[in-house]
C-alpha cells in the first residue's frame, strides 16, 4: 500500500536526524516552506481544522477518484506537520485514505517532540482528511 510506503520513507528521513529536536524542527520548517500557500479564497472558516492550537486550513479537489489536498497554516512547524500528512494522503482514492492507519507520527516520535496538546491537533488534522475522503466517497 502506497500510503504505508510513504510513511516508511518519512520515518527513515526522521531517523537520520538522530533524535535531535532542533534539527527535526528545522526539517519540519523546511517541509512547510515547500507547501504552496493557499489563496485567501481558500483560507475560509469551512476549511479551518478545529482542535488545532494554531490555525490550519485544508482544501482539496477530487478528480478521477483521487483526492488532491492543499493546506496552509499560520505557524511554520504546524505547516510542516501538515505537509507530511498531505504527502501521505495526496493522489490516493477515498477508499485508500479511509482504510489507512497512520503510524509515522508515533514512530518518528513527532508526537513526543510536539507535545500532547498539539498531537490532539494532529489527530484533528487526520480526522479532517478522513472526513473529506468519506464525503468524496459518498458524493463520488
Amino acid at each position: 500500500m502506497i500510503i504505508d510506503q510513504i510513511q516508511e520513507e518519512i520515518i527513515d528521513n526522521f531517523n537520520m536526524l538522530d533524535d535531535d529536536i532542533e534539527m527535526s524542527l528545522n526539517y519540519l520548517m523546511e517541509l512547510g516552506e515547500g507547501l504552496e500557500p493557499l489563496g485567501d479564497e481558500l483560507r475560509i472558516d469551512d476549511n479551518i481544522i478545529k482542535g488545532c492550537q494554531s490555525k490550519v486550513w485544508l482544501s482539496h479537489t477530487f478528480e478521477d477518484n483521487k483526492l488532491i489536498f492543499f493546506g496552509d497554516s499560520n505557524t511554520a512547524i504546524t505547516k510542516g506537520l501538515l505537509s507530511l500528512l498531505i504527502s501521505v494522503f495526496n493522489n490516493r482514492t477515498p477508499k485508500e485514505i479511509l482504510e489507512s492507519k497512520l503510524f509515522f507520527i508515533n514512530e518518528t516520535g513527532l508526537c513526543r517532540f510536539i507535545g500532547t496538546q498539539r498531537s490532539n491537533g494532529l489527530e484533528a488534522m487526520e480526522n479532517k482528511f478522513k472526513i473529506i475522503a468519506l464525503n468524496s466517497l459518498k458524493n463520488g
Binding site: 529536536i21 532542533e22 524542527l25 492550537q53 499560520n74 505557524t75 511554520a76 512547524i77 510536539i114
Partner: protein, 405 residues
C-alpha cells in the same frame, strides 16, 4: 550587581539542574508556576512519611501534630500579608477559588439587580468569569477599566465608571501578561470612598514584592502558593473579618459545621466555615516552608535583584528591532510579553524549548486583553529570583538566531 546570594539560591532548587535536550534548563515560565525549593519538597515528603493524619478533632498524636503544623501555616500566612487575625485567612485551592468564593458568597448575597462590578481589561480569566457568572444570576452589570497603550490602567476612566451603583471592584495587583504593577492602594482608596468593596488578585505579586493588606486596606485579597515557590493546589483568601463574618458559607460539608441535624445546621466559626471537607493538608504544611524561604531572603532584597535582571532583559530585548514588546509601563516586574514580526510565537516557543528555554506562548488566559491589542497571542518570558544574567544572555542569543531562520 547586588550581593544577592544567587548561587546559593539556585542550589536550593533541584529542578534547575535538569537538562532539556542536552541543554541546561532555563526556566522563564515563572508567571505560570514557580519551581520549588528543597525545603518545600522535604516538607511534603516528611508529612506523608511521619505524621499524615486528618486534622482537627483527632485525639491521637499524629492528628495533633498535623493540626498544629497546618494551623501554623495559617499563622505564618497571616504575618506574611500583615492580616489582623488568623480568622481572616481562609485556605482555598488557589487564587481562582478565592475569587469564586467571594463572587458566590458575598456578591450573590449582597449585590442586587442593577448593582455594578468593576474589573479591568487586563484581568486574567479567573477574575472575569466568576463575576460574569454571578452577574448573570443576579442581573448585575460588569464594567471594565480601559488599559492604555503602555499597559497601564486608565485611572481617569476608572474614576468615570464609579457611581452610586458601584458595589464591587476586583482588580489584578500585577498583570500576568503585561507585568504592570497596578496602583492598587490608590484604587482601593477611591473605591472605598465611593462605597464599593475591593478584591485584589495578588497571584503574581506575593513572590515579587512586599504585600500588606492593612496598608492596602482592601476588603479581599487572594493568592496562590504555587506561584510563590509553594505547592500546587493551595491558595489563600484574605478577607476583613467583619465582612467574612456576615458572609454565608460557600460549600457545605465536614469541618464547616458546628451542629448538624436533619432539621437544621449551624455553621462553624471563622475561618472554618469556609473550609468544607478535608483540606489539602500536606500542601498547606509545605506552603509554610515557601513563605519562610521568602521571609529569610527578604522580599525587599528579592525585589531589588529582580529589578536588576528585569532591567537587563528589557534593555537587551529592546535592542532587537523585530521584537515588539507588549506592556511597557515603568512600574512592572520581569514579565515580558512580545511578538516577532514574521515569526509566529508558537514556532518561537518550540525552537526555544529545543534549546532548553521554557517560555509560555498564547493568550495567557487574558483573551479580552489580547483582543483589545489586536493580537491572538504573544510569547511571554517571566523571571523569578533564581534567574540569572547568564540565562538572559543565553536566551537573547538564541532568540536572535531563531528569528533569523
Amino acid at each position: 550587581m547586588s550581593n544577592f546570594p544567587i548561587s546559593e539560591i539556585r542550589k536550593d532548587f533541584p529542578i534547575l539542574e535538569t537538562k532539556i535536550n542536552k541543554n541546561d534548563l532555563v526556566y522563564f515560565d515563572n508567571a505560570a508556576t514557580t519551581q520549588k525549593p528543597q525545603s518545600v519538597i522535604d516538607s511534603l515528603s516528611n508529612y506523608y512519611k511521619s505524621f499524615n493524619s486528618n486534622i482537627h478533632r483527632g485525639v491521637h498524636q499524629l492528628a495533633e501534630k498535623a493540626t498544629e503544623e497546618f494551623e501554623s501555616t495559617r499563622e505564618t500566612a497571616k504575618s506574611f500579608i500583615n492580616a489582623s487575625s488568623t480568622n481572616e485567612i481562609i485556605f482555598t485551592r488557589g487564587a481562582t477559588e478565592g475569587i469564586n468564593l467571594v463572587a458566590a458568597s458575598y456578591c450573590k448575597n449582597f449585590l442586587k439587580k442593577g448593582d455594578e462590578i468593576i474589573i479591568s481589561e487586563m484581568e486574567h480569566h479567573s477574575n472575569i468569569v466568576p463575576w460574569q457568572m454571578v452577574a448573570k444570576e443576579n442581573d448585575l452589570v460588569i464594567k471594565t477599566i480601559k488599559v492604555t497603550g503602555k499597559g497601564e490602567l486608565d485611572m481617569e476612566h476608572f474614576k468615570s465608571l464609579l457611581n452610586e451603583n458601584t458595589k464591587f471592584v476586583s482588580i489584578v495587583y500585577i498583570s500576568n501578561t503585561l507585568g504592570t504593577i497596578n496602583p492598587v492602594k490608590e484604587l482601593v482608596n477611591i473605591s472605598n470612598n465611593a462605597g464599593a468593596k475591593v478584591l485584589v488578585d495578588a497571584a503574581q505579586a506575593t513572590s515579587h514584592k512586599n504585600v500588606d493588606v492593612k496598608d492596602l486596606n482592601c476588603d479581599f485579597f487572594v493568592f496562590s502558593a504555587h506561584k510563590m515557590y509553594g505547592p500546587t493546589g493551595v491558595g489563600i483568601l484574605y478577607g476583613k473579618e467583619k465582612i467574612l463574618e456576615k458572609m454565608p458559607p460557600y460549600m457545605g460539608g465536614g469541618e464547616m459545621i458546628k451542629d448538624v441535624s436533619f432539621e437544621d445546621t449551624t455553621y462553624n466559626t471563622l475561618p472554618y466555615k469556609f473550609e468544607a471537607g478535608t483540606p489539602n493538608i500536606g500542601d498547606v504544611i509545605g506552603f509554610k516552608k515557601a513563605i519562610e524561604y521568602l521571609n529569610d531572603l527578604g522580599r525587599q532584597n528579592i525585589y531589588k535583584y529582580e529589578k536588576e535582571i528585569r532591567d537587563h532583559a528589557w534593555k537587551e530585548l529592546k535592542k532587537i528591532d523585530r521584537i515588539k514588546l507588549v506592556g511597557t509601563s515603568d512600574s512592572k516586574i520581569g514579565i515580558f510579553s512580545f511578538y516577532v514580526e514574521g515569526f509566529h510565537y508558537y514556532d518561537l516557543g518550540l525552537f526555544l524549548d529545543a534549546k532548553g528555554i521554557a517560555i509560555r506562548t498564547g493568550h495567557h488566559c487574558t483573551q479580552p486583553l489580547m483582543d483589545k491589542m489586536n493580537l491572538d497571542g504573544t510569547a511571554r518570558v517571566s523571571l523569578a529570583m533564581y534567574n540569572t544574567y547568564e540565562e538572559i544572555n543565553y536566551f537573547i542569543d538564541e532568540l536572535k538566531k531563531i528569528i533569523s531562520k
